[in-house]
Assembly symmetry: C2
Amino acid sequence: MGKELTSRAEDYSQWYNDLIIKGALADYSAVRGCMVIKPYGFALWENMRDVLDKMFKDTGHVNAYFPLFVPKSLFEAEEKNAEGFAKECAVVTHYRLKTDPDNKGKLIVDPEAKLEEELVVRPTSEAIIWSTYKGWIQSYRDLPLLINQWANVVRWEMRTRLFLRTTEFLWQEGHTAHATKNEAIEETKKMLEVYADFVENWMALPVIKGVKTPNERFAGAEDTYCIEALMQDGKALQAGTSHFLGQNFAKAFDVKFSDKENKLDYVWATSWGVSTRLIGGLVMAHSDDDGLILPPRIAPLQVVIVPIYKGDEQKTMIGEKVKIIIQQLKELGIRVKYDDNDNNRPGWKFAQYELQGVPVRMAIGARDLENNVVEIARRDTKEKQSTGIDGVAFYIKELLDEIQLHMYNRAKQFRDEHITKTDSWDEFVKLLDERGGFVSAHWDGTPETEEKIKELTKATIRCIPLNNEQENGKCILTGNPSVQRVLFARAY
Amino acid sequence: MGKELTSRAEDYSQWYNDLIIKGALADYSAVRGCMVIKPYGFALWENMRDVLDKMFKDTGHVNAYFPLFVPKSLFEAEEKNAEGFAKECAVVTHYRLKTDPDNKGKLIVDPEAKLEEELVVRPTSEAIIWSTYKGWIQSYRDLPLLINQWANVVRWEMRTRLFLRTTEFLWQEGHTAHATKNEAIEETKKMLEVYADFVENWMALPVIKGVKTPNERFAGAEDTYCIEALMQDGKALQAGTSHFLGQNFAKAFDVKFSDKENKLDYVWATSWGVSTRLIGGLVMAHSDDDGLILPPRIAPLQVVIVPIYKGDEQKTMIGEKVKIIIQQLKELGIRVKYDDNDNNRPGWKFAQYELQGVPVRMAIGARDLENNVVEIARRDTKEKQSTGIDGVAFYIKELLDEIQLHMYNRAKQFRDEHITKTDSWDEFVKLLDERGGFVSAHWDGTPETEEKIKELTKATIRCIPLNNEQENGKCILTGNPSVQRVLFARAY
């Protein structure tokens, strides 16, 4: 066959890259750290985007679009945010090229077209958006502002990985403005719930909801809420964040509103985002050594039908029957493809669609036609079963639900088996090295200890889970008193 | 009332800006030449995008995403394209900011983070896409590639206008690759038809389909097909372009394929795009001195319902009836809003929704309720009519169709009345100065004459209409022999 995929055991990292590239989700590009999202990968992103977009709208949000560029003076206004992103900024300094006088056919940057003020390519849009909100908000009647933006952002990362960490990536960023602190905090939590709902019920990926430690907060936030998922190699992946920004940006951009009593106060803010990084998490959490395994609810293709025939007569007969089946599947809203391409043999097609993670494969041959049956193979368990053609569409519809659920349960079982409590430093280190996953341990609450643990083990505090049990104990590193366990892990 | 809109007669250009800003479609931003697309304007763009996206997919295209940045060496590979865009390029030269040692809290570009090769922010994506296609195309089996991208692009324009010409804008760009010249030309024409279909049947804007003269071609194209619309001030607006790129980009990036006989040849290319500029055209073509007039098929809101009441009891009674009407409208797929906000009076609301171009307004008062009627006002003609509540949803559905058709017919009549033939230079000049619109005149076919006419009159050749009548005549400027008339106009 020769799919030539690296196995997970052999080289997990290479396995991941193989799946992305050979599964046709994305490709490397000529631009350092940037990738091309290929049609199959983009169709997956479109499905994810459309579901999220509907969730945002159903919770009262509207979309808008703000400029790609942030003038440096605005960028630096909120100091913590600026400091956090300064090291990763692509900067536009000139607005023109000209022909190179020394080198015909080549272009050089025109030194006379230097910008008076440099423009930062947005790594995130708080600054440009809050400088705009200043003009939109005068009174409590203008609040809340519940706005989301789908956009590309650029962060100059030193080490990049397809989907997981690319210089440019696609995301959505919600930016809301509120009259009260409580309302902003409620919004922050509400959007975390939306993200958890999406990742668990559409991506089949269980998450832990929690709050970041100050060290791990978004630059400029008062609190960062997050959802954390677990990959098959035992490393955690931050799947989405929702930030309570307090009045930091309102103060930086002088955005005040008059309340019902005509008193002026600064506006309260949130921001929240998920990105194409989610696709990396999806791949790492579910796939196997034969390729991608995509959850039916967001898979670009849910069913592929492969005919097995000798000669045109058989092909035509099968094709006629398949036409009816496709019609029935489409009426149930199922995304289906019929691959009767003569250039490739059925075995090659089977492997190809396995590699690309299509949840259900239907094979149908001349003999099947006689017996009025088809063969159904599910991608997640690789089980095959023969089933009658009558009612096959409903059968598949239920099977897709079952696959979705099974993928979630399998990932959840793996995740749950990889949350380990410990009170011993030696075991803590050993768990991280040998077992991976989340390690639940006491921490004395200081940034210094957190930093030291990171230095020693490369593990970070992924989150303090929401509604965390309060329990007296001793810090895993220092032995100092602690009131709760937190979740440590190595992470992407 | 105080909507404070400038009238068209007073200052057409200011009228346009007023509509965009006060109609809440967009806002100026802190970034030179860039705008913010506000939620109402973005909802309009989403509707346009969704319709176009479906049209692209129905004609066999898929979406993908390519990097924002183009390394300078790739950008300059296709020389004509590079030359055409070099003067408008935003250029990233650095990838880091650092704190200003002389100015606490401020940032400066880190001189040590200078890129070895500068990155151009894409003004269009042929270069980055064709450098990618090189890796995707080996044989005729890989063709055609029918890919579209929704993206932001940046062109450093000296003079900008909201929507019509902004430094950053949103668009879609199709980039297709074909095995034969004919197939590529067919694709170019097919997408022109898709654009014409969309602009005429969804935006209610009649267009003339044609081909650009070599002077007006897209940089790097062999042929540029276009659709041209007419604004109310008599100026033309290019609403979409579809380019036959020949083998220019394939040669620049060395993209060859082996055909069925194993012979190597360069691949044939097309590209085609429409942008947020269309919104500018929509506003200019349809609106009046009271505000926007949006075509029902793409209007964010199709119907607004305004209650007229005294006291809570009347409000409740009206509200109950409206709930049923809204349910009926939604079942018919109609986008409706009920504005029972107590803060504003009905008259203020009427003016506001007129300004925002909502196609149909329904007013309902206590007396109406008794008589089982509502008052319906259509935005395009401002006609009002009382109609029974029973069956009002179907009435409105038909009315929306009628408004759509009427807007198209009105724009078409205006356009048709503003295509004037002339064979006299003096009249040519006078027509452009006094009547505007398209002037159909003979041209000797040389770029020099075209350039001279532009200098003298500011009019350009908008297009040579498809299937243009061949007719011997004399060039309007030089008197030299000509075989056909072409369409001149001043343009946005």
